[in-house]
């Protein structure tokens, strides 16, 4: 017997944390709204029953407007789960209970969960469970995904609710609205939940209009005072919510907390943005200082191993050069990547990121984007594929496509080893600074591209934004570790698969046809053949070949370099060429995985092609400028 359980709720109320607790999964939970943009499923068994949980994207109302909200609505409407859990934030229950009332109109089997009850207790907010139950007429469970409180009770309640379904009808909207609802029901096919759709129709929901019977013309049936009716319906729900809370919740007057004082500084009009950059700089400095000893150790280890095996025969050469040197050169940067994700994890986990989005919103406005897309783009620092996917959360189609197209310019973790390698060679004394500059440049290039794409490809107006700013939370070590691991492991997987395969291919191209002299290899032929294109930038054939191989995945640049020169330590690059090379790598060609994601998310071949052409030209121009300016200065 499988019981399906859907989890819904406002954004950032802890649905995913709860899901992780229930299923024992390790989905990453960030402290900003809109992390879950597609449904995530997981199963567990409890008392010989299989519980199949579905974690759905957060929303405020079932009148969905963005793609991720539609995922949730369609799921509830077309494949209603056996049990639906509405997760409500105990610290601000009003909005969650509004969603609960809406959900009940879908005639679902509902449990209301008041999550973050530990935080509520700390702030002396108390709920009277039995009166909540009697007013809302659904089972109530008070939980904390953080401490684990109430989780077992929730499991029990799921079983009980499944055995004894309970679908209460709570609200009567008064004669004016009820008569309209009754009138509209005839316009919908029997297979739908008529009352829900009629009510949505009265609220002016566009989706409900689409589901009208074919012969019904929306304009002819809809009342002229629809906006008034929509407000009446919403007011009725909120009045009910407030009445219930007046009776079932007690809270003391809130004092100014230390968190508010911190927030005052972090979101300060003048010093907020400088603080953001200072924190980013600190994060990069930490990345180097924390990982330096380990990186050195791994490098030396791989070097020793290569020397031990030698490269006298074709077989030992494949092992030592192709595999150990090729893959090892990438692996040795893993501690740095984990350190960076650790630092970024703390920023995300604490709830600081949405504040940055708030501070930057004005700047994003001039790019015709929103603070929300800023957060989506920040995901790209991990992997561009995830930011392309997360763009689903953006309401406006134009903004979504723009965000997808500029995503590749956000410097993803695959580029970290490449920068680290080049910086280590050309700027050994200013590593944190050079790294920081690359990230600033990445942000600037992303902004510039958004501007250009908006001007040329997608013409349009700016879009409205309502964004929630979550509470600050003290980052827990286990959450930061999960964050770090979830993002870092992707890198390890790549090292074992695509990077390994590519390293072997590069080795073949180097070894044949002449193992004794690399200048006669196939790799050299390719590089020399195309070198004329990059001559203005001052790139050697090794660089050209590495860039070509690296278009599959950026880490392969490191592995190719290591093989061309027989180890990272032997590479020579002057600072100007190195800068031009890094700028070129920042922008040129999204990796295959990203291109595939762009194609599937936009559902057209046009955008991946635009992306390749645009990124190649802009990065070439920028790298050219850097090398010209660099040669003038040096």
């Amino acid at each position: 017997m499988v019981i399906t359980v859907g989890l819904i709720g406002n954004p950032n109320v802890g649905k995913t944390s709860l899901f992780n607790k229930l299923v024992g999964a390790r989905q990453y939970v960030a402290n900003w709204p809109g992390v879950t943009v597609t449904r995530v499923e997981g199963a567990t068994s409890y008392k010989e029953q299989t519980l199949h949980f579905i974690d759905l994207p957060g929303l405020y109302t079932l009148s969905a407007t963005s793609l991720d909200e539609k995922v949730t609505r369609d799921f509830l409407l077309y494949s209603p789960p056996n049990v639906t859990i509405v997760v409500i934030d105990s610290m601000s229950p009003e909005q969650g209970m509004y969603l609960l009332l809406e959900t009940l109109e879908l005639n679902l089997n509902v449990i209301a969960v008041f999550n973050a009850i530990d935080e509520a207790k700390k702030n002396s907010i108390k709920f009277d469970k039995s009166s909540l139950e009697s007013y809302l007429r659904v089972p109530i469970v008070l939980t904390s995904a953080h401490t684990g409180e109430g989780i077992t009770e929730l499991m029990e309640t799921i079983l009980a609710t499944f055995r004894k379904p309970n679908r209460p009808k709570l609200l009567d909207y008064g004669p004016e609205i009820e008569s309209k609802v009754a009138e509209f029901e005839q316009y919908f096919e029997d297979k739908y939940n008529k009352r829900f759709l009629s009510l949505k129709l009265v609220e002016g929901d566009k989706f409900a209009m689409e589901l009208l019977k074919k012969d019904v013309e929306p304009t002819s049936v809809l009342p002229s005072n629809m906006s008034d009716l929509a407000i009446k319906i919403a007011k009725r729900r909120y009045e009910y919510v407030m009445n219930v809370l007046n009776r079932a919740m007690s809270k003391s007057e809130s004092a100014i907390t230390s968190m508010e004082a911190i927030d005052h500084v972090f979101t300060h009009k003048y010093i907020g943005i400088p603080i953001f950059f200072a924190l980013m700089y600190l994060a990069f400095n930490f990345t180097f200082k924390a990982s330096e000893p380990l990186v050195g150790l791994i490098e030396v280890g791989f070097q020793k191993l290569t020397d031990l095996i030698g490269s006298n025969s074709i077989f030992t050469s494949l092992i030592s050069q192709g595999i150990i040197n090729g893959v090892g050169s990438v692996i040795s940067f893993i501690p740095s990547i984990f350190a960076l994700f650790f630092a970024l994890g703390i920023m995300e986990e604490s709830g600081y990121l949405p504040r940055i989005a708030f501070l930057m919103d004005r700047a994003m406005y001039s790019l015709k984007l929103t603070g929300r897309s800023f957060m989506t783009l920040l995901l790209g620092f991990g992997c561009n594929v995830s930011s392309v996917m997360a763009a689903r959360g953006l309401t406006d189609e134009r903004e979504r496509v723009t965000t997808i197209l500029v995503s590749p310019f956000v410097s993803c973790s695959a580029r970290i080893p490449v920068y680290l390698m080049i910086i280590g060679i050309a700027f050994p004394n200013h590593r944190a600074e050079a790294f920081f500059v690359m990230y600033l440049l990445s942000i600037a290039l992303t902004a510039l591209s958004a501007r250009i794409i908006n001007k040329i490809v997608m013409k349009g107006e700016s879009i409205p934004l309502v964004m929630e700013l979550p509470r600050y939370r003290f980052p827990s070590l286990s959450n930061v570790a999960t964050y770090m691991w979830n993002r870092g492991k992707h890198f390890l997987q790549k090292a074992g698969t695509i990077i390994l395969v590519a390293s072997v291919i590069v080795w073949v191209l180097i070894y044949f046809p002449d193992p004794t002299n690399i200048e006669n290899s196939f790799a050299a032929m390719i590089g020399k053949g195309l070198q004329f294109i990059f001559a203005p930038l001052g790139f050697q054939w090794q660089t050209v070949s590495a860039l070509i191989f690296g278009s599959v995945a950026k880490e392969i640049i490191v592995s190719s370099f290591a093989q061309f020169y027989g180890g990272v330590g032997n590479i020579v690059l002057d600072p100007v060429t190195a800068s031009a090379l890094m700028v070129f790598i920042l922008g040129y060609i999204p990796c295959f995985a990203t291109l595939a994601a762009i194609k599937s998310e936009t559902n057209s071949l046009k955008y991946p092609i635009i992306s390749v052409v645009y990124s190649l030209s802009i990065s070439y121009i920028l790298a050219f400028l850097v090398s010209i300016i660099g040669r003038v200065i040096v």
Binding site: E94, T267, K269, L359, R362, G371, V466, L469
Partner: protein, 155 residues
Amino acid sequence: MKLSEAPIGAQVEVLHIEESDITPRLRGIGVLPGIKIEVLKSAPMGDPRMYRVFNKVISLRSSEAELIEVQTSEDSPLPLTFVSPGKYRVEHIECGRIAWMNLSRLGIIEGAIVQLLDDRRVKTANGVYDVGFGKLRKIYVIPCKQECNHEIKNA
């Protein structure tokens, strides 16, 4: 008054919302006629601003806040720049230590009764002063009720 024009620190009540693409979401969050909203702070260049609806903090751009018609709640503290001449009680002063010391020397401190004169000067227990616009904006007051109906006496 539009929500985008409400002064920071004020508590306002929603009167009316103009229909737009985001109205359903605003309704879901609780921005509805009769609901109270607190204006918290603004980002650089005055846009967007943070508002508190129930216990949730949201960020709204001025272009959206303009669609929301509000009035100030009766018991909401307002900056002195925002009120008409009359007697007020100082609720709180949003400024640094030094500015606070300077104001307290004039007799403008939390709990004091002050009178805004027709020429926009401020009469306190210590005397009548010209207070700059920047400082006036930081002094939040609520209208006086009966308890302070007597004349402000010069010390």
